[in-house]
């Protein structure tokens, strides 16, 4: 069942895309939304459960105050109004991974509403209007075992309720229009910006690959210049930044082909397939699922005091976009350097390394080359490497003091990453210090001159560039533990 597609360019020539992005963020609270169960990722299935998150008869929810606080902070960071009084509601539908067969969520009374944020694509700024950010609980996680991987046709299904009740914030944009051919890039930039804001707030791990940030892309097309909105589809499971962009692009081409052929777009849920880069039809939404929402009678309204909201507002971190601009200016990085640093998620590491006394250039050098390479090899984030910014600063300080050189520094990183201790301990244990004993160095230079008489002759004749070969020989003799600059000075002195 291959869909007919219209090329992106042709699609844009005839149609204007409108998008709505719904992002679900798992909060990183210690406990779940309505019970005291831990939220740690990756525990044995069904070990982080209690009567409440299993929905056992008689159990009752109690709102997690930290989750409410996080929701308010997210709302404030997105320039939202914060409700003075709002309630939870029950969203009723049957599904085996829903312990109560209703989800406790917010419906028409979100904690935060009417906000905005700005994103930049190719130097152009787009303002994204935020409709609402509301609190809800996650469901359990179903694994359908069988050839289809879906509940239909599965041999059997396993449900892990560890995830049931994890606090979620759903952030919904208003329709994003006027982005034209930038629409897919704007979608990606928005989710990236949201991720940075959430990271800055420290309210979520925002790991798309672990599902702690999930995006649904609503997209519709209208005849170019008509100013209307067409029938939309809702593409689920879009779980990487790249996929957000690809899914939007795909839906534009797919819907355009339908409309251009005089057909119509079906209002439906679609599934995104990361591997093949296509969306496929899910359930039709035409029968407008009736969730029979009503206020959750087991919870009292959430009424954050204005004093509390203002306290939280005052304590908000600097917005990521502004912070990035400030840091780039302070650090003197080029646009390209800064873009790489941002892409690598290295800002916090570099910031802390600089705070520990390293220059901006040296901090960038270590994190973006040596350590980025190692993180890449191990398939982990920079932050997950077992080396701290303070240790990076300590290693650079050893270089600055002439106790080690860059080459030895790499070996110090090996030791620190291998858990052999602090940089100083590694230098000591591995015997990596640059030999500053002038006598030993002088003898090594003499040996090198004696072993390479022809090279020595060239230098005596004024061909100073030939010194490199002798330096190499001395460094090899000293097993790298020499200050190359001093070696060069000694060679030139002796062969003057």
């Amino acid at each position: 069942m291959t869909e007919t597609l219209l090329s992106f360019e042709d699609a844009l020539a005839q149609f204007d895309p409108a998008m709505g992005l719904e992002v679900h963020v798992e909060l990183n609270t210690n406990t779940k939304m309505f019970c005291g169960c831990p939220t740690e990722f990756g525990a044995e299935p069904n070990t982080q459960v209690c009567p409440t998150c299993l929905g056992l008869p008689g159990s009752m929810p109690v709102v997690n105050r930290t989750a409410v606080e996080s929701a308010i902070r997210i709302g404030l960071a997105l320039n939202c109004q914060i409700a003075e009084w709002c309630r939870f509601a029950r969203k009723n539908y049957f599904y085996p991974d829903m312990p109560k067969n209703f989800q406790t969520s917010q419906y028409d009374e979100p904690i935060a509403f009417d906000g905005w944020t700005e994103v930049e694509v190719d130097g152009e700024t787009f303002r994204i209007e935020i409709e609402r950010a509301h609190m809800e609980e996650d469901t359990g996680k179903s694994t359908h075992v069988g050839t289809t991987g879906r509940i239909h046709g599965a041999d059997y299904s396993l449900v892990d309720y560890n995830r049931a009740g994890i606090p979620l914030i759903e952030i919904v944009t208003k329709p994003i229009t006027g982005t034209r051919e930038q629409a897919p890039a704007v979608a990606r930039a928005y989710v990236a910006a949201l991720r940075d804001i959430l990271l800055g707030l420290g309210v979520s791990d925002v790991r798309m690959e672990q599902g702690s940030l999930r995006c649904d892309v609503n997209l519709s097309l209208a005849p170019a210049g008509s100013g209307t909105l067409g029938t939309r589809t809702e593409t689920k499971n879009v779980n990487s930044l790249r996929s957000v962009e690809r899914a939007a692009r795909y839906e534009i081409s797919r819907q355009a082909a339908l409309l251009a052929a005089g057909s119509t777009v079906t209002q439906e849920t679609r599934h995104w397939h990361e591997d093949t880069g296509v969306t496929t039809s899910g359930r039709e939404k035409s029968d407008a699922e009736d969730y029979r929402y009503f206020p959750e009678p087991d919870l009292v309204p959430v009424a954050p005091s204005r004093e509390w909201v203002e306290e939280l507002r005052a304590a908000l971190p600097e917005p990521p976009r502004e912070k990035r601009a400030r840091l780039q200016a302070e650090w003197g990085y080029s646009d390209l350097e800064m873009r790489d640093v941002v892409a690598a998620g290295a800002i916090p590491q570099i910031e802390e390394t600089i705070a520990a006394g390293t220059t901006a250039q040296a901090a960038r050098k270590w994190w973006m080359s040596e350590l980025a390479r190692r993180a890449n090899e191990q398939g982990v984030e920079l932050a997950e490497l077992p080396v701290t910014p303070a240790q990076v600063a300590a290693i650079q300080a050893l270089v600055d003091a002439g106790e080690i050189n860059d080459k030895l520094a790499r070996q110090v990183f090996d030791g620190v990453l291998a858990g052999e201790g602090s940089p100083e301990e590694v230098v000591k244990a591995r015997g990596l210090a640059v030999v500053s004993d002038e006598g030993a160095l002088s003898e090594a230079v003499d040996r090198a001159i004696a072993a390479n008489p022809d090279v020595a002759e060239k230098i005596r004749d004024g061909k100073v560039a030939a010194a490199g070969a002798l330096i190499g020989a001395v460094m090899k003799d000293m097993r790298g533990q020499a200050d190359a600059g001093r070696v060069r000075e000694l060679i030139l002195e002796k062969l003057a």
């Binding site: 008869p57 008689g58 449900v159 029979r292």
Partner: protein, 503 residues
Amino acid sequence: MSLLSKTAAELADLLAAGETTSVALTQAYLDRIAEVDTHLHAFLHVDAEGALAQAAASDARRAAGELLSPLDGVPIAVKDVLATSGLPTTCGSKILEGWIPPYDATVVARLKAAGLPILGKTNMDEFAMGSSTEHSAYGPTRNPWDTDRIPGGSGGGSAAAIAASEAPLAIGTDTGGSIRQPGAVTGTVGVKPTYGGISRYGLVAMANSLDQAGPVTRSVLDAALLHEVIGGHDPKDSTSIDQPLPALVAAARQGASGDLTGVRIGVISELRGEGYQPGVEQRFDEAVALLTQAGAEVVEVSCPSFTHALAAYYLIMPSEASSNLARFDAMRYGLRVLPDGVADPSAEEVMRATRDAGFGDEVKRRIILGTYALSSGYYDAYYGQAQKVRTLISRDFEAAFAKADVLVSPTAPTTAFKIGEKLDDPLAMYLNDVATIPANLAGVPGISVPAGLAPEDGLPVGFQVLAPALADDRLYRVGAALEALLEKQWGGSLLSQVPEVTA
């Protein structure tokens, strides 16, 4: 039989005086259950072993002088709608047959913490839906006054157990009258506390915004003693009230003096007349006259919105219930029924077959009602309107309580009807709660106190007292006064007139 006709307060005194032990008491009640419950079916589960172990522990504490509460050692029965760890909890439904909760409801935990041995779990209409206990999936409970009659509902098991001396104390729950109406038709005392006064954690919800657990007892003082054990704030129930209970036992003792000078009593004019049995009205009027003699000032109050209470209740309650009962889907606990003739049933098919087999007709009726009332397009007309009526009823109460300290009415319009009489007429059944429902909708507390036997059928009549939210102490003062004045006339408690139970 002498021990068994005593109130819990009297039993506590006997225990304190060393004239009996908790083990002896508990055994006496277990023997009584063994003797009469085959006829009455007040209990769904009896935990003899557990109760005796708790009793022995109580006796040991007494010997060591480390009592946990004034009721330490006095046994109790618990309605089967409250979760009891290690003991079956069925809610009178097949769908929960065999389910043993891994946790205690807060009420149950507080009973244990106060040292009350738990005799067992009492029968009820399935998921507390009914006014007769005939809707129990495990068969009806019979009224000890006349075993051809219903003991009220949904808490007929707890009320019958008290009336038949199978337990000195019991816990009930009241969503639209399920404590008070059984109290009325069995000649026992039943209290529905202020909404939020008793934790609902572990109470399997029918309608969360209406449900409230409370005492079912032989006397008003017993109810106050039990209320103080189970009441008070619980962090596990967000709707529980975070402030201390009023002095309930003190109010009951004050009331027992029979002096109500200065108390203003409002008779609700809407809860009289058509539909009320003459003997019920007669006993009610006599009780009001007694209260007047005791010094109370009696006024007539009108609560016009009460006439819409039943309609609003039958929208709000099923709406909440339809959502609450969605969790019974055969996936995690309770009954699982595989559909007939389906080789490889899907989750949905198993869910459907299980719910079809596991729920009784009344439960299905309310799920359908509630699902309909919440459906998009109908929500405003049904659920929304019902919430407005609820507000109006609260306003009626506010206005009435401006004129009177407590309000009074008959608890139920009739005495106990015959088993089977209203089973095929849900509306007639629903009408039995017409006087009790307004209190649930407004969250105010109420008590039913025995008012005597109706002359025409010799069956118990209940007298209802309602107080403003948080003023539960007024129920105990007025209830205890009425009880003292009536028992003086009768020369003892009404329950001393219960006939011996026979098949």
